[in-house]
Structure formats: structure tokens, C-alpha cells
Point group: C2
DNA sequence: CCCTAACCGGACCCACCGGTCCGCTTTGTG
DNA sequence: CACAAAGCGGACCGGTGGGTCCGGTTAGGG
């Protein structure tokens, strides 16, 4: 995607992919604590190779995260063409939950690495943008209450992931998503939320404010 | 509480408290990865003292978690006497969210340690029981839809915690809780959830099934 | 086909971390 | 008040994990 820095040699590019895949797999199985050596072994590559491509373990994690985020926002943009705007929103959310259930360790890490990583921020903003379009379309169709924003959705998504984790079970996640659906149904004026939906700027503020 | 093993000497008991507090504080600030040495330093005791009281770092974490869980269930039982049953439920949830926002690292750990720790399981079951009573009371009063169970609530609670984390802001958490409130409003029969609420047995099943 | 720059593997380094050990101090009981 | 038992601190240990280094290998342009 953002390949501003000159293209890699063929073997280097191949190894990069191997590493990204091996890392994702390893993280999914054993959490973020797997050693870089283990990842290298899985990829069939020397440890030195890892650190030449990704200057630090954190960079490697971030690269995998960015990968996944782009997948999600791409899916969101596809769904903009789906017939039922309301269903499309929940379809994306469902897909994201399923993905996050596999790669849970990664999504846990987002908030922590977020702080320092420009690439993740960018991918995240892109995902929010994608979600935003999808949501607006559903709201215009009257399928979703219009006092919530894309970040409200994203938060509820993260909530569902976290909540269903100990059950390790898609049915439970589906139940939670049904509750989200209930929460998002249009409501009479008397029951509207007060305050405005959160924005990326709110996160930014917490970010810089939270640095001790 | 469960003080079956003989009482500690005065200085030992004092140090135990110091350690528990120092640990909670350290975890809140830097996550669970703080070294035992650092915790000992904060508590003003030697590292050996830590390991005499808590045979392993995990035991120390578990002890802090149990502490917090008992606080929550106690608060729940107090609230059984509150005048408005519906409001009482949300008051407990709000309090729990606030507590979890401070001790977020601890709550993240619950699922992982859960697997092996009897004490945490016990405290957790106790909390579920407390929540259950509060919830049933609200349902009898018609304030909450009756197709959800205590674990549904607990899951949504965890969801809100996770969701509002990057904002690091109580207002945002309050907004999320309002959405939970919307999700929990009584609904017509056509919109009831299918399936039964999750139970502790479901967690247990995932637990033993999930051991690789 | 050849040569160089880019790339590769994995041995190696070092900081740190959980946990142990032991000589000294404190507690509280008789 | 004396003295055993319980507690204490912190030096120490083995292991592990992130990150470096360098002699050998390969890609691919001229």
C-alpha cells in the first residue's frame, strides 16, 4: 500500500510476506509474547532477517495490525453496494468480530501501540471513514438511530469482542451483536442520547493528555 | 474473608497490605508487565518478601483481582435495598466501569488467569450471583427486558470497559452505558433474543475445551 | 556472464525478570 | 526478659528475549 520507499528485491519481498503471515499465525496462537525467534523459525527465516525488515518487534506487530485493518475497511467499502443498508452495517461488524476473535491478541495491542505508531493511526482513520459511510447510509435509510457515530459503532464492536472472549464461541458473539442491534434501533426523541458522538479528535486528546 | 490459614504476624500482615496496594497501583500505571522488583520497591519491602507472601507473580495478581471483585459484589448487595430497581442495576454497572477504568490491566488478566485460579473463579461466581439478584429485581419491576441474564450484563460491562479505554474518559463511558440501557429496555415479543442467556457452565466448557 | 550491492542466517550479546537462598531482625509468648 | 519461630532484605541464579554483527550467498543490471 504505502510503498513510498523503493521496491524490495524479490527475495526480500517474499520473506516479508512469509514473516507477516507467520507472525499473524503465531500471535493468534500464543499471543503477542511469542519470541521473535519463534516467528522467524515459523517463517523459515533467520532472526536477523526479521530485524532488517522490521526494526523492532513492535514494528512487526504494527505491520500485521495495519494489514488487518485495511482488510476490514476494504470490506466496508464493498458493502456500500449491498442492497440492505441496515444489514450491511451489521454484516461488516460481524465480519470484524469474527476476524478479531481469531486475531484477538492483535486487537488488544492496538490501543497500546496506537500511541506511537503513525501507520496504525492512518489505517484506523481509514477504517473509521469506511464505517462512517456505511453507517450514514443505514441512518438515511432509517435503519439505525441517527444520534450515534462511527466511533460509537467501533466501540461497541470492541465491546463485543472483549465480552465474548472467555466463551470462545461465535454464537455468544452473535447474541451480543443482537443486543447491539437492539441498542441501535431508532428511538423516540425523548430517549435520544445526550451529547455528541465521540470523534477521532477525542482519542487524540486522550492520547496526548495521557502521556505521563 | 477466606482466612482458613492461621493469622499472620503483625508486620507480615502490614506488609501484605502494602504489597497489595502497591501492586494495584503499579499495575494501574504500567500494566501487568511491571516487574516484581518494582512492586517491592514501591511497597518499600524486599523482593523476597513478595515471594514469601505470594508464591508466584500470578498469585499476587490474582489476589488483587479477588480483592476488587469482592468490593463489587458487596456493592451489589448493598444496592439490593435501593428504591429504584432499574436504576440500581445501572448504578452498579457504572461503579464497576469506573473501577475497571482505573484497574484496566487487572480486568484484562482475568480471562487468562481464570483458567488456573480457584479463588478468582469463586469471587467471580459470587459477583455473578450478586448481579443476578439485582437484575432479577429490575426485571420483576419491568425495568429491564427479561430475556437477558446476569452474564449478558457482565459481558456488556466488559464491553463498555474495553470500548471506552482509548478515550480514557468517564463521559464516553457514560455514553456507552446509555447505549447499554437502550439495549436492555423491554422489547415486544417479536424482537426477543433467540437462544438462552449464557451461563457460567458455558464459560467452563470453553475453558476445558480451550486447553491445548 | 560477472560483479556489486542488497540480502541472508544464526551465533552472539546483554539487560532484565521471575524465583531462590541465607544471614540477620523482629515479634510475641511463656 | 529470653528465646524460638516467623519474618525480612537483597544478593544471586538460570533462563529468556530483543536486538546486533558479520562472513557467506544471491539477485539482477550492465
Amino acid at each position: 500500500m504505502p510503498e513510498s520507499t523503493k521496491p524490495l528485491r524479490a527475495d526480500a519481498e517474499r520473506n516479508r510476506r512469509l514473516l507477516l503471515d507467520a507472525a499473524a499465525e503465531a500471535f493468534a496462537e500464543h499471543g503477542l509474547d511469542v519470541s521473535v525467534g519463534e516467528i522467524a523459525r515459523r517463517a523459515g527465516v533467520g532472526q536477523g532477517t526479521v530485524f532488517r525488515r522490521f526494526p523492532t518487534k513492535e514494528h512487526l506487530i504494527a505491520a500485521v495490525v495495519v494489514d488487518r485493518m485495511h482488510q476490514a475497511s476494504a470490506r466496508g467499502r464493498e458493502l456500500l453496494a449491498a442492497p440492505d443498508p441496515g444489514a450491511a452495517v451489521f454484516e461488516l461488524l460481524t465480519a470484524m468480530v469474527k476476524a478479531a476473535q481469531t486475531d484477538r491478541a492483535l486487537f488488544e495491542a492496538v490501543d497500546d501501540i496506537f500511541l506511537a505508531n503513525e501507520d496504525i493511526r492512518e489505517a484506523h482513520d481509514d477504517l473509521v471513514d469506511s464505517l462512517d459511510q456505511l453507517l450514514r447510509r443505514a441512518q438515511d435509510a432509517g435503519a439505525v438511530r441517527d444520534d450515534v457515530g462511527a466511533l460509537d459503532l467501533l466501540m461497541m464492536f470492541k465491546g463485543v469482542c472483549e465480552a465474548s472472549r472467555p466463551f470462545n464461541n461465535v454464537d455468544i458473539a452473535a447474541r451480543q451483536l443482537d443486543l447491539v442491534r437492539a441498542a441501535l434501533r431508532p428511538v423516540p426523541a425523548s430517549e435520544r442520547l445526550q451529547g455528541r458522538p465521540p470523534t477521532l479528535a477525542d482519542i487524540e486528546r486522550a492520547r496526548v493528555g495521557g502521556e505521563r
